[in-house]
Structure formats: C-alpha cells, structure tokens
C-alpha cells in the first residue's frame, strides 16, 4: 500500500531538513513543474480528481482553473490554510511537524500553476512546533533558490510568508481567513465574487488546505492515473484519517481514500477501549452528522459518507462511547459553535447560543418536552441557505443526527429531570 504523504514522516527522528528531503526525491516535482506550462499543471491536478481535504471536497484543479490567466492581474496570491481548528481534527499538524518541506514544495508548484508571486501559510497560533519548523524550512528553501526571485533560473518569482493567527475558528473559512490576513475581523465575505477572482486585497487568490497542497508534488511526479489508482472506491488518492475518543489506539493513518469505517476503527484504532461500547461517530470533525452501528461498513469517501447522511469532512473521526452522555456531547459541540460564531448574521449569532442554552437545560434536567421540537426547528432555521457561511449549518449537523439516533437519551433527561450519566 502506497503512502505518499507520510512516506518520509517519522516522529522517531527530527523531520527532514532540506538536504534529506532532496535526497529522498524532494523538490523534483518543482523542477518538473517549472518546465511545464501553468495551465497543464492545473489540468493535471484537475484530471487527478484531487478533492479539497479541508472538508468541502471540491475538485482542486477546477478551483484553480477559475483564476484569470490572461496576464491582466500582476498580483495574485496562494494561501495554505493551516488554521486547523475543527474540533477533533489533528491531521495538518502531523503533516507540518512531520515534513514541512512537502507543504512548501506543494505550495510553490501550486503558486506557479496560478502564476501567483506571493504566498502565505496561515498557521494557527497553537501550532508552535509547526511554526518553528516551517520558519526554518522556508529559510532553507530561500537559500536553495526554491523561493525568492528567479526560482531555479526560470524567471519565476515567489515570496512566502508565515502568518500566525490569534485564534478564531471562523478563520478557517476561506473568505474570513482573507479578512484576517488583511488585519480585519474575520467575518466571511459574500460570494460572488469568489476569491479566485477577487480575494486577498481584491486580487485573485487561491486558498487550499495543507493536506490538499501536500498531495500536489506527488501528483506532478507520478501523474493523475497513479493518483486515481490509490483510492479504493469513488475517490482518488490517499487520505489522512484519524480517530479520537475511547478507542484502544487513537491516532492518524494514511489510507486509501474509501477505506471502510470498520477497518479504521477496528484495525487501525484497535477497536473500543476495554469496558467501552460504540454508540456513534462524527466521521470528519465536529460539524458532521453522526454515523452509527448500521453504518460501520460504509466506505469513507465523499459520496458514500454523503449517502449515509453525513460528510467526510476532515476525515478525522470522533467516537461517542456508551459511557458518554450524547446530550452532554452535543452540548459541548454547540457551546463551541456558539462561542466561535463571528456574529455577522442573525441566525447564527442568535440561534447558536439559544441552541446551546436549550441543550444545557436538558443536560441539567431542566428540559421540557417541547424543547426537542424547538431544537428541530433550529436545525432547519440555521440550516443551509439561511446563513452567511457554513458555520451554523455545520453546527446543526451533529445536532440533527443526535436528535434522530439518540432521541431516547434526550427524552430520558426530560422524563427523569436529570442526566442519567451523572
């Protein structure tokens, strides 16, 4: 089984410096890419069917293809979204701490494909080690002539800056991220115009997730057919999957896209920890719908997870065990979303704190039978189409599925006027 993203990652030794990375084939994809036309790189990436690994799952090459290439835009930007803040998600940290040059090479190739001359890594504040390693790796790349003016004698110029955020979940939304980079409140922007045409400082901009960008050098080196062959079912490539919660071996694994949920939980994570039973899982971070026992054999690709009523999201799974109260679990999630709402649009700003308060009162044994109806109304009012960005609809996903799969647990709280787990 091929594991291109993690083949050079080992936490038993320091991560590769530039020389080690080069010795293991590093920056060969960049050399190759610089000999190709930017459009052909975009076409290759589009043909590979690489989909955005940050959660939305949009075809990466297609996203790039919307950037104007007619020479009328002297300033364009390429941004790595390294603001990993989706609760339960920890994959980009591993990629950056494990092999910073892989991300940098992926960024240079991607920037060349859209002919951007300025690039940023938008890194979350908490990732101190990744920040140190990336700073050093960027310096090495400049010194080796992979960044700066006239890269490898081709006439192509690219600057790269590391920007460290000051903490807010909404910065992961790509247009909010752009506002944060402009020194403003990180509220999302209206689309259209899309960032590909009018992004950072009004210039054409591509924002891609760290894992997405790390795939680029391998696609350039090995071609789109190779990349497609890595996937098991509906989707191309490998994926960094993760499991956290009460399992025997929580962790991260690079696996063929489309591995089954059972394989991930039982084979990789070793199954449930002793004494704990499985009740459900959020397959791709806090803003995805619960999957339960009946879904264990579905494949974890975009289409199959959607068919089961959820989203692959970030591919990092959070397990709900039978010793954890589902109402308390969902309350914790909604507390997070209410706190992290940027406050721009009314349904999100008002609806999320209301949702959180209802859940807290149910958890404390103060819930009323009509509260479940009220929560269901919220899942519709805060759902897709009613809010400015995807934060509130995402927040409703675990709630609506909890009301469906764990309804008895909610009712028990209301009937018994207490949390049965406490």
């Amino acid at each position: 089984m091929e594991t291109p993203l993690t083949q050079h990652i080992s936490f038993d030794r320091p991560c590769y410096n530039l020389r080690d990375y080069e010795k293991n084939g590093g920056y060969q994809a960049l050399r190759k890419a610089l000999s190709l036309s930017p459009e052909s790189i975009t076409n290759t990436v589009q043909a590979s069917d690489l989909k955005g690994r940050g959660g939305a799952g949009f075809n990466t090459g297609m996203k790039w293809s919307f950037v104007p290439m007619n020479g009328h835009y002297p300033v364009k930007y390429l941004i790595a979204n390294a603001d990993e803040m989706e609760p339960g998600t920890f994959k980009d940290r591993m990629l950056m701490e494990g092999n910073p040059h892989q991300l940098i090479e992926g960024m240079i190739v991607s920037a060349f494909a859209i002919q951007a001359n300025i690039s940023y890594i938008f890194l979350r504040w908490a990732y101190k080690k990744a920040g140190r390693l990336l700073t050093h790796a960027i310096e090495e790349a400049y010194a080796a002539g992979y960044l700066g003016k006239n890269i490898l004698g081709t006439g192509y110029n690219l600057e790269m800056y590391l920007h460290t955020g000051v903490g807010r979940y909404i910065c992961g939304e790509e247009t909010a991220l752009l506002n944060a980079l402009e020194g403003k409140r990180a509220t999302p922007r209206a689309k259209p115009p899309f960032p590909q045409v009018s992004g950072l400082f009004g210039k054409p901009t591509i924002v891609n997730n760290v894992e997405t960008l790390c795939n680029i050098p391998h696609i350039i080196n090995n071609g789109p057919d190779w990349f497609k062959s890595l996937g098991k079912g509906n989707d191309a490539g490998t994926k960094i999957y993760g499991v956290s919660g009460r399992v025997k071996r929580p962790g991260l694994w690079e696996l063929p896209m489309g591995v089954s949920m059972r394989e991930l939980i039982e084979d990789c994570a070793g199954g449930m920890a002793n004494g704990y039973g499985f009740r459900g899982a959020l397959p791709g971070g806090a803003s995805t719908d619960f999957l339960v026992e009946e879904h264990l054999d579905i494949n974890l690709d975009y289409k199959s997870v959607a068919a089961a009523g959820s989203r692959l999201g970030t591919g990092t799974m959070i397990i709900l065990d039978d010793h954890t109260c589902p109402v308390g679990f969902v309350h914790n999630l909604e507390h997070f979303f209410a706190q992290e709402s940027c406050g721009w649009c009314t349904p999100c700003r008002e609806g999320l704190p209301w949702t959180e308060k209802i859940l807290l009162s149910i958890e404390r044994g103060e819930g009323r039978p009509e509260d479940l109806q009220l929560l269901e109304t919220h899942t519709r009012l805060l759902g897709p189409g009613n809010t400015f960005c995807a934060l509130a609809p995402g927040a409703m996903e675990p709630l609506q599925s909890a009301l469906k799969y764990f309804r008895e647990d909610f009712e028990k709280h209301i009937d018994q006027k207490k949390c049965p787990w406490r």
Binding site: P87, G88, E182, V243, S244, L252, A286, I318, N332
Partner: protein, 159 residues
C-alpha cells in the same frame, strides 16, 4: 482623547517591518496587536490608542479587531497562561476532571488570575492533539495525555 502611552522604538520598528509587507498600514493591525502584547503582556486602552494612532485608524475600529480574536488580551493576565482544551475529544476523555483539579489546586476558574499573578486560566478550543487528549498549553508549551497524577508536576514547573 490623547493616548497616555506611546509605542517604544522597538515596538515601532517591529510594526514597521510588518507594514512593509502589506499594501496598506491598517492591514498590519493584527500583527501590531501581537507585537505590543508580546512586549506588554496585554493590550490596555492606552496601548490600543497608541497602536491605532500609529496605524492611522480609529481606536474603535482597532478595538473591534482586538476583541474579535480569542488570544488578544484586553485585560491584564498572569505571568503564565494556562489554555485548557474544552473541545469534544478532550470532553470525551475527561477534561472536566482536569479543570476541577486546576480549580482546587489554584483556586481559579476560567477567566480568572491567581492573586499572586502566577497563572491565568482560560478555556481554549481544540488544540489539535486529539489522539493525546486531554491536553492543555501553558504559555508556548503543549502538554498532552493529562492525568490527575501528571498535572501537579506540570503546574509546579511554572512560577
């Protein structure tokens, strides 16, 4: 109102470095807040006015940015800042017990500072180390796989 404080030459030099990287002065707002907080520990009203003046924006506009972000401190903080992850994986793995132990040990809840100024305790959204939950950060250091046993030893390292 005229600012009672001014920026130090060192702070101004660091902010100038950031301004040079962006197309307009105001775009360096977050970097400037980070720089001044790094030097002074927090952003007082006077510091805010001084930065706003330097960036040529209104203090109100800068305050709307400063208060938006979780890690810009508009109140004084202790010498050491504990950021305890309270997100979902840490919830499942028992962060509430760790919180209870910190409260008992230091006598402070979320948002409070010990009377001797040694610690400020804040909740923090997912620290991205969910396979080693529960977790917290103190200043720039990450601590994972917290237990009631190792927590005391970790706190003892900070004065």
């Amino acid at each position: 109102m005229i600012a009672q404080e001014t920026l130090t030459p060192e702070e101004m030099a660091e902010i100038d470095h950031e301004i040079a990287l962006v197309p307009m002065r105001r775009a360096a707002a977050i970097e400037a807040l980070k720089i001044v907080q790094h030097h002074r520990g927090w952003i007082s009203d006077d510091s805010l006015q001084a930065i706003a003046g330097y960036l040529e924006i209104s203090p109100e506009e800068l305050d709307s940015v400063a208060t938006f972000y979780n890690l810009v401190f508009r109140r004084p903080v202790g010498r050491n800042i504990i950021l305890l992850c309270d997100s979902i994986s840490c919830y499942v793995m028992g962060y509430e017990k760790i919180y209870g132990q910190i409260r008992d040990r230091l006598g402070i809840s979320f948002g409070q500072t010990t009377p001797d100024g040694r610690f400020t305790l804040l909740p923090n959204a997912c620290l991205g180390t969910c396979d080693h939950a529960p977790a917290l950060m103190i200043n720039n250091e990450l601590f994972r796989d917290l237990t009631e046993e190792n927590l005391d030893e970790i706190l003892d390292r900070y004065h």
